[in-house]
């Protein structure tokens, strides 16, 4: 092998990489927020006794979970203009990612609410709490604690998944690999560096989420 690895020339692109990281994080956070809002609605609809709500909700979840994100993205970005809906790449990315996350969010939330035992609700009601008070003081904390790990790992999954939106030209972190590649012709180094940047982000977020879990759910407030 007589290839000279030249990772050092990539150092010139710190600004681009940083900008990519910021956009990736923005995309991830927006996706998480919108996805959970959609997911909450879908979870409630799916659990509703009305077939008019539950059937479409389940159809949505199954459709999204059984097709690739990349194809969903292409439908939104390349397909919708045929219907007269023209979206910028950034907007198409946020919409496709949020719709995708909505299906997973619905499943996570449903599992979370199911995890709170009926007896806990009964205990709350038998103490004279109203349904809303029981939800607020009994169910919410336990359910949040139950779904937190799934939400935390879902965030990392989203962050890693956002790189597919580079294929429609969103200049997030993964797109910077192609950009650096086009400037330096150092494809291997560029993609390795960018891929490992995701590893750093993943590890940093996992550590952050573990700390938050400890601070919120494990640590007892000092008395």
């Amino acid at each position: 092998m007589n290839y000279n690895f030249r990772f050092e020339i990539l150092l010139r692109y710190q600004a681009e990489i940083l900008q990519g990281v910021l956009l990736t994080l923005q995309l991830s956070v927006l996706t998480m927020v919108f996805g959970l809002v959609i997911g909450l609605g879908v979870a409630i609809a799916a659990g509703s006794p009305s077939k008019w709500l539950s059937v479409p909700a389940r159809f949505y979840v199954e459709t999204i979970r059984n097709t690739p994100l990349l194809v969903q993205l292409f439908i939104v970005f390349f397909g919708l203009p045929s219907l007269g809906v023209r979206l910028s790449a950034d907007l198409a990315a946020v919409i496709a990612l949020s719709i995708n996350m909505g299906a997973y969010g619905a499943e996570i939330l449903r599992a979370g609410f199911e995890s709170v035992r009926r007896s806990q609700i009964e205990a709350g009601r038998s103490l004279g709490l109203t349904a809303a008070q029981t939800f607020r003081h009994v169910v919410l904390f336990q359910a949040t604690k139950a779904i937190y790990p799934a939400l935390a790992s879902q965030f990392v999954l989203i962050m890693l998944a956002t790189c597919v939106v580079s294929s429609i030209g969103v200049t997030e972190l993964f797109h910077q690999a192609a950009f650096i590649d086009s400037r330096t012709y150092r494809s291997f180094e560029a993609y390795t560096l960018i891929t490992l940047s995701y590893l750093i982000l993943t590890l940093a977020f996992r550590a952050l989420f573990s700390f938050i879990y400890w601070a919120v759910f494990v640590r007892r407030p000092a008395r």
Binding site: N66, T67, F74, F188, Y191, L199
Partner: protein, 216 residues
């Protein structure tokens, strides 16, 4: 030349879907074998082996598959292995799948209580007999549904190989879409084909889960 999206194009997409399935099968086999090794490294009572497996799993699960694909696509030629998109995709997806299979199977093995090992031991069964007759049959029941469930992820993730130019279902969709300028219809057909494959697997996974959960 722009033409209509026609029946022949649907046939082309279906033929391309064979490559999606073939790639997933190769990754399932390659990843399955490597995954067994990862699961074994993860549970043997030898710390450096555990660390190696954990490093591997974190490296694969902590980075985007798309990045891994590009690294193999551009990296293998550098160490003298000329690869086409198919080879890079097959290797990369196998390595990716191994990390997940390894974790699923480790979890399944560890879900069998230590008491079952002890009960086997107290009857005089050797380590191998305890593993094969007592623990593995129970672990298999636990592992089947999530393993089939992961195949859905695998099928969906083969779509990323379109971005390194491997002509499977999604890439075929891009090609037809470019030729016909009917992207919405083309990608909807593509989505339907994925859905049929993945939904069948999902349902199978669910049925297996229910069946194995009820049966012993």
């Amino acid at each position: 030349m722009i033409r209509e999206f026609a029946g022949a194009d649907v046939v082309y997409l279906l033929l391309a879907a064979r490559w999606t399935v073939a790639l997933a099968l190769v990754a399932m086999l390659g990843g399955g074998l490597l995954g067994l090794v990862i699961a074994a490294l993860r549970i043997v009572p030898f710390k450096p082996a555990n660390w190696l497996a954990i490093l591997y799993i974190n490296l694969i699960q902590g980075t985007p598959l798309l990045g891994q694909l590009f690294i193999f696509f551009f990296g293998l030629p550098l160490i003298g292995i000329q690869v086409d998109a198919w080879t890079a995709a097959a290797i990369s997806l196998s390595i990716y799948a191994a990390a997940f299979f390894g974790e699923i199977w480790r979890g399944a093995l560890q879900s069998v209580s230590i008491r079952q090992w002890e009960a086997g031991a107290s009857l005089g069964l050797t380590y191998g007999q305890r593993l094969f007759y007592v623990v593995l049959p129970q672990a298999l029941r636990v592992a089947v549904a999530p393993t089939v469930g992961f195949l859905v992820q695998l099928i969906k993730n083969t779509s990323l190989t379109a971005l390194i130019g491997f002509v499977e279902l999604t890439r075929a969709g891009q090609i037809i879409s470019g030729a016909t300028f009917a992207p919405l219809r083309v990608y909807l057909v593509v989505a339907v084909v994925y859905f049929v494959i993945c939904f069948s697997l999902s349902q199978m996974s669910r049925r297996l889960e229910r069946k194995l959960h009820v049966a012993r």
